[in-house]
Amino acid sequence: MAEPSILEIQGLRRDFGGVQALGGVDLQVRRGKITGLIGPNGSGKTTLFQAVSGMDREATGRIYFDGHSILGLRPSRIVALGLGRTFQLSRVLPGLTVLENLLVASRPDDSEAEDRAHNLLRQVHLERQVHVLGKALSYGQQKLVEFLRVLMRSPKLILLDEPAAGVNPTLRRTLWELVRQLQEQGTSLMLIEHHMEVIADLCDEVYVLNEGRIIARGTFSEVREDPQVFAAYFGHRNRTAS
């Protein structure tokens, strides 16, 4: 392969009025792989997603997605290039039904969108909620809809921001199953997650972010041995892969 990484970030910086949320981050997401992004709360993970997805256009540095420089592009342009993301706090469209939420996220020319939507909803046991308004969903249900919505366009790269937070353990397994299927179909993924079992299980490579800087990179077993990572992230009681 001529170009191994689908996402290439170089020297990404972002300040919020003096607070440096990202202090020059370099990062690659390899094609067809699942890349984990972990780090303590407030370390800048979501901020990085905001910049990559075009929601925040005030970051500086370089971001290449699938060969295009995308820093400064509007989200819809970036989505058109094949990127999809979820939000940490779900942004389900409150006045649209669950089905409409999925349909509006599909490609305009997708004639099978409706079937796909029903299929996906069945997999996470939301088939009874098809015609329920987004605002009438529980916290976890919203997170699930948010996740399914990204799949409607079959993007090349998906950024997932704690997709399983607030989702119950059983469904969480289904969700990870879906993620693995996506990978098998050739989709690249980047995942923010605080559950270490998942990171250990799914991720081919892991980046650890702390105070806006990458402090470690490697496979999960490599980074978890790193004393710096241990101090910043895991704390006194290490409950990792079970």
């Binding site: 607070v19 972990i38 780090g39 303590p40 709360n41 407030g42 940490q88 706090l89 046991h125 909620q129 009438a136 969903l137 529980s138 916290y139 976890g140 249900q141 997170k143 699930l144 704690e162 937070a165 607030g166 989702v167 119950n168 353990p169 059983t170 469904l171 969480r172 397994r173 605080h194 270490m196 910043a232 992230y233 895991f234 704390g235 006194h236 009681r237 290490n238 409950r239």
Partner: protein, 240 residues
């Protein structure tokens, strides 16, 4: 047992507008206990807590606090009844300082000196917050935010503290801290009712647990028994 339970839900039905969500839910919390409430998404766990606190309309049934009926109370009376609540998703007054957030927790305390004293007490309890007392709440890290939300709910020294997913979105280090803090609170004499998707860990520190599904009671037992229960493990704890 002569003393009534601290919290007692009897045959509780509740709804959002025309849509009924809870069906005859039963639940008891004894003084000094930690009780965990678990179940799949959309089971109605948050709704149970919201109906206790008066944020959701109760259709039928009763809610008793130390024997006294409080069904359908006005939410802002919760501190008067000795109920503290930590909502799902660490919701703070982001543009007020840590100290002001805590002060709001003791809004009902009219005497400013007494209010200040309460703030100091809670800050003693959470040394991490003490260092950042003048910082805007919105600028705290996730774990600190959750601490602040809990601290705020403790300002009026509630008998009953209800927490909706305290570990949501927290990094492992903070999750450990929070769960440790909950045990400390129990030892200080607070009674805790906790909703968690981190169900296994919740049951580890809880005395008893309830499993809710589709708005109905499914299981209720000692926490350790639930952890052992095959069906519970498979269906709700994500085990095999």
């Amino acid at each position: 047992m002569s003393a009534p339970p601290l919290l007692h839900l009897q045959q509780l039905d509740a709804s959002y507008g025309p849509i009924q969500v809870l069906f005859s839910v039963q639940l008891e919390v004894q003084p000094g206990e930690i009780v965990a409430l678990i179940g799949p998404n959309g089971a109605g766990k948050s709704t149970v807590i919201k109906s206790i606190i008066g944020l959701v309309r109760v259709l039928r049934g009763q809610i008793r606090l130390a024997g006294r009926e409080i069904t359908g109370m006005a939410t802002h009376h919760a501190p008067l009844h000795g109920i503290g609540y930590v909502p799902q998703g660490r919701i703070l007054f982001a543009r007020m300082t840590v100290r002001e957030n805590l002060e709001m927790g003791a809004f009902l305390q009219q005497d400013p000196r007494e209010r200040r004293r309460l703030v100091e007490e809670v800050l003693d309890q959470f040394p991490q917050l003490a260092a950042r007392a003048q910082v805007l709440a919105g600028h705290l890290s996730g774990g600190e935010q959750q601490m602040l939300a809990i601290g705020r709910s403790l300002m009026m020294r509630p008998k009953l503290l209800m927490l909706d997913e305290p570990s949501l979105g927290l990094s492992p280090k903070y999750v450990d801290q929070i769960f440790a803090q909950l045990l400390v609170l129990r030892d200080q004499g607070h009674t805790l009712l906790m909703v968690e998707q981190n169900a296994a860990r919740a049951l580890e520190i809880a005395d008893r647990g309830y499993v809710l599904e589709l708005g109905r009671n499914r299981f209720a037992d000692r926490a350790s028994a639930l952890l052992e229960n095959e069906a519970v493990r498979r269906l709700y704890l994500g085990g095999v």
